[in-house]
């Protein structure tokens, strides 16, 4: 079987653009490109819910978070970049500026690691995306997808710690130590919360999890829901737990020395982590891609519902930034190892109990 036949055998089914695709499949070279793009695994990783959706989400959330915080704090927020649409393309403009800015590698930095790591840190972000399905659109089907996503998420923290070490600066060291502490604080309750949901559904397979959610997971196990929510805030350095980055004290912590496009890469790490955790959150607690099937866009319907739920979840989460003040490191550790660990264990018992009946 040739490569082209493999692509064609597993193509996206989108009725609305079917005539256009049928026409393009007749054109000699372009049909290979079209077949590749519409090949389900490639589409899942490269377009949605993969890289393309991730890029759009980044542009949206950076603008939205700044604007929302500004509104709550009685400011106006980004406005001057393209005034007619109230600064909507601010994040894009920032990205372009980062791209053309000089990358300064200071003398004390461990040069090879310092330059490589922001790019390497992208790998643990991209690998979990392969396992996140949106209906039929999936990179790799696996019975252990949820466990794999959690495992690869853990790698991001390690890359951040190593980035802090490679920067070889006081603030970066403080930041990476704090990152390591926060990692200890949230990881155990987070993993237990996910395990309780796996027990509840009886499988680590996202398809099984979504199928069993006739009632959304929020109501099946609300305790695991709360633990996951707080762990998500801790893991992505959202404001009540913005301890590793702490702008006011250590000036963006591990990333203090970066500039230019490398800063652009490391700054978005937390947002990318939030995206993946929110996708997993949607699959575990909000019924994943289940939703009214829209016939006209075919397979995209599942993708649309999954992304919609994820983006709405994140958009609600970012308002926490303007409500709560930052915890101290010891308070966050205490919270992680006392109430959250206790709650997650209760959630585990509840998950096993409910799993018995569901």
């Amino acid at each position: 079987m040739s490569l082209f036949e493999i692509f064609v055998s597993n193509m996206m089914n989108i009725p609305i653009i079917k005539p256009l695709i049928d026409y393009l499949m007749g054109v000699p070279v372009i049909r290979f490109i079209v077949a590749l793009i519409l090949w389900r695994p490639f589409f899942a990783i490269a377009i949605a819910p993969g890289l393309g959706a991730l890029g759009l989400y980044l542009l949206w959330i950076v603008y939205f978070e700044r604007k929302l915080t500004a509104r709550v704090q009685w400011r106006v927020g980004p406005l001057e970049v393209c005034r007619p649409i109230r600064g909507l393309i601010q994040a894009l403009a920032d990205g372009i500026r980062f791209f053309f800015q000089e990358v300064i590698v200071h003398r004390e930095a461990h040069r090879p690691y310092y330059v490589q790591l922001p790019i390497l840190a992208f790998i643990p972000v991209l690998i979990p995306i392969m396992f996140i399905p949106a209906g039929n659109v999936v990179g790799i089907k696996s019975d252990y997808a949820i466990q794999l996503i959690v495992a690869f998420l853990a790698l991001i923290s390690i890359t951040i710690v190593v980035i802090g070490w490679a920067s070889n600066s006081r603030f970066a060291f403080v930041g990476s130590v704090r990152e390591a502490f926060m990692y200890f604080a949230y990881e155990v309750p987070f993993v237990i919360a996910v395990i309780s949901m796996i027990f509840l559904y009886g499988s680590g397979n996202p398809y099984v999890a979504v199928e069993k959610q006739t009632i959304p997971g929020v109501f099946l196990n609300p305790i695991a829901f709360i633990v996951y929510l707080i762990a998500m805030l801790m893991a992505t350095s959202r404001l009540p737990f913005e301890i590793p980055e702490a702008d006011q004290e250590i000036a963006f912590g591990p990333f203090v020395e970066y500039s230019g496009i490398l800063f652009g890469l490391v700054m978005t790490l937390a947002y990318e982590k939030l995206y993946i955790m929110a996708l997993l959150f949607t699959i575990l607690f909000l019924g994943g891609w289940s939703g009214p099937y829209i016939w006209i866009i075919g397979d995209l319907s599942h993708v649309l519902w999954l992304l919609l739920k994820t983006v709405v979840t994140i958009s609600i989460i970012v308002i926490v930034r303007s409500i709560y003040a930052r915890y101290r490191l010891d308070q966050a550790l205490k919270l992680g190892w006392s109430s959250m660990l206790g709650l997650s264990l209760v959630g585990l018992v509840l998950g096993v109990g409910v799993g018995w009946f569901v």
């Binding site: 929302l68 509104r71 709550v72 009685w74 400011r75 106006v76 406005l79 308002i319 303007s322 409500i323």
Partner: protein, 253 residues
């Protein structure tokens, strides 16, 4: 003895506090009470007693030096032309406007201009002849904003300049950029005049006549009496300060 102990709110109070914070944030996110003005496209309408750049009226000045003496930042220096007149160093000025308050004749006045840029520190020293009119400013506002207090809450009222219907005069001034009459509030009328409390005790030393900057006090040789010309008097109070018998005073006419 008052003992201070740590406050331990009850669980219900804590939940109430959290809910309060979250609802406030959501309400503000949907409909913020913000009072930010998008300067320079919008401009706030400042009150008449706004403390901005100083305007100087040479004809009223009597060179009493009071502005220079009272200035807490030492920003005002007197320069000599045909007489001594003030000049301001805006690098030092703190806009307290003690000089305006202390000026007996209303020669120093405040304008509503506050957005002036200087190219260097030396440019910030404004000589007397440039203090006579407001500095050159570019106004590009399309909307005028007025702050209003309604039910104890500060609110903004926005009006498009071209549609200012109530205030035709104001609209004409903004559109035609005749700013000196718009930005400078009307001069404060001179309120006080010198008068003699006790003419019987006058020594006839004529010090008052010699210190008067406007020659308002005259000595009549034939009748041998002093007289104060109310029309000429500007109420600077030089005579009051110099009178050896302390029988002169200022009063509101």
């Amino acid at each position: 003895m008052i003992k201070i102990s740590k406050v331990e709110p009850s669980v219900s109070d804590r939940i109430k506090g959290h809910l309060n914070a979250i609802t406030t944030a959501f309400v503000q996110a949907l409909k913020p009470d913000r009072i930010t003005v998008e300067y320079p496209r919008e401009r706030r309408r400042y009150p008449d007693n706004f403390r901005g750049i100083l305007i100087f009226d040479k004809d009223r000045c009597v060179s009493c030096f009071r502005c220079a003496q009272i200035c807490p930042a030492n920003a005002i220096k007197m320069e000599f032309y045909d007489n001594y007149y003030p000049s301001v160093d805006y690098a030092k000025c703190i806009f307290c406007h003690f000089c305006v308050e202390s000026c007996p004749t209303g020669a120093l006045r405040s304008s509503k201009v506050h957005d002036v840029a200087f190219k260097s520190l030396d440019d910030m020293y404004i000589h007397t002849n440039s203090m006579m009119s407001i500095p050159e400013i570019v106004r590009e506002e399309e909307i005028e904003v007025e702050y209003e207090i309604e039910d104890g809450k500060l609110k903004l009222r926005r009006e498009v300049v071209e549609k200012l219907e109530v205030d035709y005069e104001r609209r004409r001034l903004i559109l035609k950029k005749e700013l000196s009459s718009l930005e400078v509030p009307p001069p404060i009328p001179v309120r006080k005049r010198a008068y003699c409390k006790d003419p019987e005790s006058c020594l006839g030393c004529r010090i008052c006549a010699s210190v008067c900057p406007r020659n308002a006090i005259k000595y009549d040789r034939k009748k041998r009496i002093m007289s104060i010309d109310i029309e000429k008097c500007v109420g600077c109070g030089f005579c009051v300060r110099h009178c050896p018998m302390e029988i002169l005073d200022l009063k509101v006419m």
